[in-house]
């Protein structure tokens, strides 16, 4: 029986890695400073002690090469987990991720599968400025052949990472830097969470909020605030962008007739547009109001933390979008 154990997101990830490495000797990890130091975010803490340096491989600062080596290793029998320290740096390796990993299975007519996980972290809120605060998930979601998973809680972090490691194909597994220290219940017993199923984290009747990753926290805050004025929001954690579980969203919209999509990625051309487009196309007659999107402003992330907060979506922006969708506030975009 579970003892309502509470651990951090970081610890949950660490457990997932350990468990999968114990049960499958083909799982290896490559990345920078992940060995003795345990990773700059400490997610790989203690792993080198248990699994040794042949499975926990500290690499030179060469994201393209070790991502590519991960691909080659995945094609030949290993299950590599590639830690790309910040998602912003993934841009130096993205040819390997999108032109290689994502296309190998297709280009080879399924001769070679590429079972591997690119673990990275994104998001703002720490004053890390323009090159260390981005939410680039949409870029990865747009290119077919790689799944995109973004956990919002310790429970999800563990269950989704375990599933990602067991998946047949490549996965971008994007953590959020502001969540590493967040705490939540994680059972002692083994479990996994299927990739591709959204999670209704709060039920409600008046409006649907679809979000992911740290957006869940913001959305729940907004939902709480809205409750005070008698508005009951349903909050859905998409959990993954590819596959994208719009069925769950549409089911909810059939009930609420209103949708707000929330993400930390830049709003313009962000993934919220995909959700909005699908829902308006498939549930046109269910919608009593336009679908509103809450996302980051169309600017790089400013360093100054007050400006940064202004640039990133906040709970109050969600509240305002919801109110617009209920015609309680004037709305445009």
């Amino acid at each position: 029986m579970s003892t309502n154990r509470v651990i951090t997101y970081r610890e949950a990830l660490n457990e997932a890695l350990k468990e999968e490495m114990r049960s499958n000797e083909n799982v290896i990890i490559m990345g920078e400073d992940i060995g003795e130091y345990g990773g700059v975010f400490k997610v790989t803490d203690g792993l080198i002690e248990e699994f040794g340096s042949s499975r926990i491989i500290d690499t030179p600062i060469s994201e393209a090469a070790f991502s590519g080596a991960g691909i080659g290793a995945a094609m030949t029998g290993l299950i590599p987990i590639i830690e790309i320290m910040w998602i912003d740096f993934s841009l130096v390796a993205i040819d390997q991720i999108l032109n290689q990993a994502a296309k190998m299975t297709y280009m080879s007519g399924s001769q070679t599968k590429v079972p591997m996980v690119f673990r990275t972290q994104g998001g703002g809120g720490r004053g890390n400025a323009a090159q260390h605060s981005q939410s680039l998930e949409t870029i990865y979601a747009h290119v077919p052949g790689i799944k995109v998973v973004m956990p919002s809680s310790p429970y999800d972090a563990k269950g989704l990472l375990k599933s990602a490691i067991r998946d047949e194909g490549p996965i971008m597994f994007i953590e959020h830097k502001m969540l590493y220290g967040s705490r939540g219940e994680v059972p002692e017993e083994e479990y996994t969470i299927p990739i591709g199923k959204a999670n209704v984290v709060k039920e409600g009747t008046d409006v649907t909020i679809a979000t992911i990753s740290k957006g869940v926290e913001f959305s729940l805050q907004a939902a709480d605030e809205l409750t005070e004025s008698g508005i009951h929001a349903e909050v859905i954690d998409m959990r993954s962008l590819t596959p994208l579980d719009t069925d769950t969203v549409i089911e909810s919209v059939i009930k609420t007739n209103r949708l707000v999509v929330v993400h930390e990625a830049v709003k313009s051309y962000g993934w919220g547009a995909e959700v909005a487009s699908i829902v308006q196309a498939e549930a046109f007659d269910e919608l009593d109001a336009p679908i509103y999107r809450v996302g980051a402003e169309e600017t790089p992330v400013p360093y100054n933390m007050t400006l940064e907060q202004e640039m990133l979506p906040q709970a109050k922006d969600i509240v305002s979008a919801v109110r617009k969708s209920l015609y309680l506030e004037e709305g445009s975009k």
Partner: protein, 332 residues
């Protein structure tokens, strides 16, 4: 201090191939040549999409290296890599079928000429992005090392690819991890329409091995015997856990970069002179000089090869198209 580049010199007197070996090598060299020539023909006929990049003139490298590889050794190569696929044992019919976009192709017609792969032959795939296959081979080598097998990985790429960042990163990574991988530069003197000498400030690309503390060797890429010797040693070192090697095989791209290349950047004379040094002619002379086989026997083999290749191509042309539904499979 930095390791020096080794310049390999083939010692004629030590050449000890018997007639069986010589015939096999002759067969392979001609198989690639015939395959490539026939490809051009079918490309002109409109049987293929995209671009066609032949390796005519470079056959000795593929053959010299791949003869030391086992089926379970790994290999990556480029859009110019069908010769290497054949050298590693690929079926010409299945390559053609792929090039003609047929269901029988190695990749069900979905990869095409730039992306030949064969899992059962350890061919991890040809690549359309310059340099991108290099780290993938490093990954194959990592699997071999992690699993403790004696497999090796070989990656073939061009002179121009040595200017890509991922070349640098991959060689360093392989060196640091002491991986069993052989990096083969096919220096055919051109990257597309640009002379390699206009793109680097060094004489030999193998000099770059020193940056990674990696043994590096320059070999005459038009002498299949020399390539074979050099590759053998590098592959043995790799199998013995002694790490990677960089081989620069100097050769010449006798055709344009791709079919249709106007070749305005080089003279007819230059090309003609290079035809004199091409590897099949060279090997034939070597064999006849040494009297290992007769000219008739070589001719016979060659004819056999050409007719086999023609038959493969014909069969591939007539093979089935993939079902339309294939668009949607094999994605994740």
């Amino acid at each position: 201090m930095s390791k020096e580049v080794e310049f390999y010199t083939f010692i004629e007197d030590k050449w000890d191939w018997d007639d069986v070996t010589v015939e096999r090598i002759w067969y392979k060299l001609n198989q690639i040549r015939a395959f490539e020539e026939t490809s051009v023909h079918y490309y002109q006929e409109g049987a293929m999409g995209g671009s066609l990049h032949t390796s005519i003139g470079q056959e000795a490298i593929a053959v010299g290296v791949c003869r030391h590889l086992n089926n379970d050794d790994y290999m990556t190569m480029t859009y110019r890599g069908r010769g290497q696929a054949l050298a590693k044992g690929a079926d010409p019919y299945k390559i053609y079928a792929e090039m003609f976009g047929k269901a029988d192709g190695y990749c069900k017609g979905k990869g095409g000429p730039m992306h030949i792969a064969s899992k059962e032959l350890g061919i991890l795939g040809a690549n359309g992005i310059v340099g991108a296959g290099i780290p993938i081979a490093v990954g194959g080598a990592l699997t071999a090392k992690t699993k403790g097998t004696d497999q090796v990985a070989v990656t073939f790429f061009g002179d121009g690819a040595t200017n890509q960042g991922v070349f640098h990163e991959s060689l360093n990574l392989a060196a640091v991890l002491t991986l069993p991988v052989i990096f083969v530069i096919e220096n055919n003197m051109y990257s597309e329409m640009t002379r390699i000498e206009d793109s680097v400030m060094i004489e030999h690309l193998a000099e770059r091995g020193a940056s990674y503390g990696m043994p590096a060797i320059v070999v005459d890429g038009n002498d299949v015997r020399a390539v074979s010797e050099v590759a053998k040693e590098a592959i043995e070192r790799a199998r013995n856990g002694e790490g990677p090697t960089l081989i620069e095989a100097k050769t010449y791209r006798l055709h344009g970069h791709m079919f249709g290349d106007e070749q305005s950047y080089r003279s007819k004379e230059e090309i003609e002179a290079k035809w004199e040094e091409e590897p099949i002619k060279r090997f034939k002379e070597n064999c006849l000089d040494k009297g290992i086989v007769t000219e008739e026997r070589l001719k016979e083999i060659k004819e056999e090869v050409y007719s086999e290749i023609e038959a493969s191509a014909k069969k591939a042309i007539e093979a089935e198209e993939p079902a339309l539904g294939e668009v949607f499979t094999d994605v994740y």
